[in-house]
């Protein structure tokens, strides 16, 4: 720990408290989130950003290349833009065309590279990519905001901040692929590079460059349309423009297939919270910063408006609770006791909704960069799960009993406990969430029913002798090999499992999506159903020319700029 602190283990929240769907579905980004950590790295290492190419017509259609120069190497965003029919603009994986398509290229692409990508990138999943491509992505315009900004700038005016705040982005990505998808580079190619070690940093570098590209695109089109009359976007408004994203079920299988990685992410966050709660006296200035952030977050919530009734109600309650917390903080006696951060957390946990509790986790951690930022470097995994054949079966039984009670206590004989199943559709391998008895595909179910499989294993273990090894058991019951391997590898990693039934009738995949997106650093969750959500990324983050500013890391819960059109 770079800043001296004692971690009281009792301050660590228990896995059975943290890894529940309802709490996971109330997550917020923290300063450890990947976008935040990446921005800090860019600033610390003084990355340079350069527009290498922009060959576009008056409507903005063509090819552009934007580069990020790190101390060691260069990464380039190659962007293709095209005109598409309005009725083909969909956020789904099954889409066939997009306003813009992208690759993050490892290095600076040659003309041959660009020619190759021009034939493949616009096809997305229908193209083939190479190890030189680190990421593949696409985005669609916000029709409302794109044209508004272009026409405003062309007329010499700033865009309407209310409209900017209500949308939040000029383009919305609908997929950002990496890690070997469609022939792109495997993670192993870049995993040892310092700037790539932490999860998803290359994908989020691509998104950061996409954000810059979208802003540059509207300004360029406006300049062509308006000539000398045209202006560029006010820097404060520009910083408030993020990149949208539409996230569906594809994220859920990832979360469930990488339990060690998830454990490492959650451990980092929970350790950060525990370190702060363990402080007997506050670090100078931190309480003042916290109180200021509570007031700021109230403003942030005013701009978080969604159509979804459930989320709307949760935001309304959150606003009331934040106000209550603000009043509670006004009473100095509440903050001058020993362990003030633990006091704040406990007050939130005892009195407020999960949504508010998790927001407080973010706000409590926020003013403690010196105490917790080192944890961001631990948020990756290199482990390949092993099957330990020599483990005594008695040991496996004990692990199941100790760590999977959450699963074995679910009554899977009830139809509502096995209402759903996960599958891949033949339509571009789109992940889908089916209902038994309604949808086809139960026989092709994805192996994501962790709780049910652990429970089935437990039943079989009851009939087996303690005096055999796991290898001997698996020889007789090979259908349990996958769940045994998982259990063996998660036993010492208590935050690895979602401790809920993922097949239950009331299960909302949305909770998994929000949990993962919060780790990315996403904000303004805007659920469109229980199966997908829109979000904003990098809203409030510094633009490339602001990375050296002293406040480059101060963009948690961004609020709209005071500048008006």
């Amino acid at each position: 720990m770079p800043f001296s602190a004692t971690l009281d283990e009792a301050m660590m929240r228990r896995p059975e408290q943290v890894m529940r769907l309802d709490r996971m579905g109330s997550s917020f980004p923290t300063r450890l989130s990947f976008m935040r950590a990446l921005i800090r790295r860019m600033s610390k290492e003084q990355w340079k950003f350069e527009k290498l190419r922009q060959d576009i017509d008056a409507n903005g259609f063509g090819v552009s290349v934007y580069a990020a120069h790190t101390p060691e190497r260069t990464y380039s965003l190659v962007a293709f833009t095209q005109d598409i029919p309005a009725d083909m603009r969909t956020d789904r994986v099954i889409a066939e065309v997009w306003d813009a398509t992208f690759n993050l290229f490892d290095g600076v692409p040659t003309q041959d590279d660009i020619d190759y990508l021009a034939k493949n990138t616009p096809k997305q999943e229908g193209g083939r990519f190479r190890p030189s491509e680190l990421s593949l992505a696409r985005a669609n315009k916000s029709l409302r905001l794109f044209e508004h900004i272009v026409s405003s700038l062309a007329e010499g005016k700033q865009p309407d901040v209310d409209l900017v705040a209500s949308v939040g982005y000029i383009m919305r990505t609908t997929a950002v692929y990496g890690s070997g998808k469609f022939g792109c580079a495997d993670r192993a190619k870049i995993a040892e590079r310092e700037e790539c070690k932490v999860s998803f940093h290359m994908e989020l570098l691509a998104v950061y460059l996409i954000r810059w590209f979208t802003i540059d695109l509207v300004e360029t089109i406006a300049k062509q349309r308006g000539g000398d009359k045209a202006v560029t976007i006010d820097p404060h408004i520009r910083q408030f423009i993020g990149v949208g994203n539409s996230t569906g079920l594809g994220m859920a299988p990832f979360l469930l297939k990488h339990p060690v990685l998830i454990h490492n992410w959650v451990t980092a966050k929970e350790t950060a919270l525990a370190r702060v709660r363990s402080l007997e006296t506050p670090i100078q200035g931190s309480l003042e910063a916290f109180i200021e952030s509570v007031n700021q977050v109230a403003q942030h919530l005013k701009d978080w408006r969604v159509a979804d009734e459930v989320q709307s109600a949760r935001i309304e309650q959150l606003e009331v609770e934040v106000e209550r917390l603000s009043h509670w903080c006004d009473d100095e006696t509440n903050l001058t006791k020993p362990y003030p951060w633990n006091g704040i957390y406990q007050f939130a946990e005892d009195n407020f909704s999960l949504e508010c509790q998790e927001m407080m986790v973010s706000l409590i951690i926020e003013p403690h960069g010196a105490l917790v930022d080192d944890l961001a470097d631990t948020m990756f995994a290199t482990t390949v799960p092993q099957f330990e054949a020599s483990m005594p079966l008695a040991r496996l039984k004990a692990i199941v009993k100790d760590y999977y009670a959450w699963a074995t206590s679910i009554d899977f004989s009830l139809s509502e406990s096995q209402h759903h199943f996960w599958y891949y559709s033949e339509d571009k391998l789109e992940p889908r969430f089916g209902s038994k008895g309604i949808d086809d595909g139960v026989d092709q179910e994805m192996p994501l029913a962790i709780g049910r499989d652990a429970d089935d294993l437990n039943e079989q273990l009851k009939t087996a002798s303690d005096d055999v090894t796991v290898g001997e058991f698996a020889l007789q019951y090979p259908q349990f090999r996958h769940i045994i391997r998982r259990i063996q590898n998660t036993a010492r990693r208590p935050y690895a499992e979602v401790q809920d039934n993922l097949l239950g009738e009331t299960m909302r995949p949305l909770d998994l999506l929000r949990f993962k997106l919060a780790f990315f650093g996403a904000s303004k969750f805007d659920p469109k159903s229980d199966l997908w959500t829109r979000i904003s990324m990098y809203q409030g983050a510094p633009m490339p020319d602001q990375l050296s500013d002293a406040n480059h890391d101060d963009w948690a819960f961004p609020i709209r700029p005071k500048t008006t059109a």
Binding site: T90, S390, F433, D440, P478, R481
Partner: protein, 236 residues
């Protein structure tokens, strides 16, 4: 499309796991099958060449996942080959759990897959010998970390070797059991090359993909509309 299809290691993991499941191998065994194929690819082999034989053989009933064990000896049942998809995990579990005791596995359909399971799990200090149904002979030595070698009589490509009774034992460094052509591999070096080029796959890839496709669910108007939640046209 590039003239030569090259795929990533992650695609191998994804596709082969489900290809194994597509011929009714349990998912946990299919996961190992996919890891074995990744290791083959990391060492410069086209994984589809030996795996298509194993998948076809299992799918057509010439091989079986059923396995019997007795006194350091694994075998299939009846006249069928023992599927390497099953034999590979059984051999691996044996080696990991029995501290150097020798093992034989009879009548394995695709012996290279068994080796690959050992390689993928960093087995060191073991040797594997076999003579297949065409009398082609092989010895494979797992020398050290990522270091391994194939000695063969050169009559058959190792990917095509079939119907083997394999003997596995601790590596005897005193002499080579088999005299013949020696190919030496360093997995780390080969893997670094592959990470820059991708894994070249050839004519059997489509058949592998066909097995994988068995795990995909046919799309209907209903599932298309409801299964993923999002609308079919989205504008804002």
């Amino acid at each position: 499309m590039p003239e030569q299809l090259a795929i990533s290691l992650n695609e191998i993991l994804f596709i082969f796991t489900r290809a194994g499941f597509g011929v009714n191998a349990p998912i946990g065994i299919s996961e190992d099958f996919a890891r074995s194929n990744m290791w083959l690819a990391e060492n410069g082999f086209d994984p589809s060449l030996c795996s298509i034989a194993a998948l076809d053989s299992l799918d057509e009933g010439r091989s079986s996942l059923a396995i019997e064990y007795s006194n350091g000896h694994f075998s299939g049942s009846g006249k069928q080959y023992l599927s390497a998809i099953q034999a590979s995990v059984s051999a691996l579990d044996w080696i990991k759990g029995n501290q150097g005791l020798a093992l034989t596995i009879a009548n394995v359909d695709s012996p290279l897959l068994v080796l690959a399971a050992l390689g993928a799990n960093q087995v060191e200090g073991w040797q594997v010998c076999w003579c297949d149904e065409t009398d082609a002979s092989f010895q494979v030595n797992f020398v050290g970390k990522g270091q391994w070698q194939i000695i063969s009589d050169g009559s058959t490509a190792i990917e095509l070797s079939k119907g083997a009774t394999m003997t596995m034992s601790l590596l005897d460094n005193s002499e080579l059991t088999l005299k013949g052509e020696i190919q030496k591999f360093d997995t780390e070096i080969e893997k670094n090359k592959i990470l820059k080029t991708g894994v070249a796959v050839h004519e059997h890839w489509d058949a592998i993909y066909a097995y994988f496709s068995r795990c995909l669910v046919k799309s209907t108007a209903e599932s298309r509309a409801s299964g993923a939640g999002a609308g079919l046209v989205d504008t804002d």
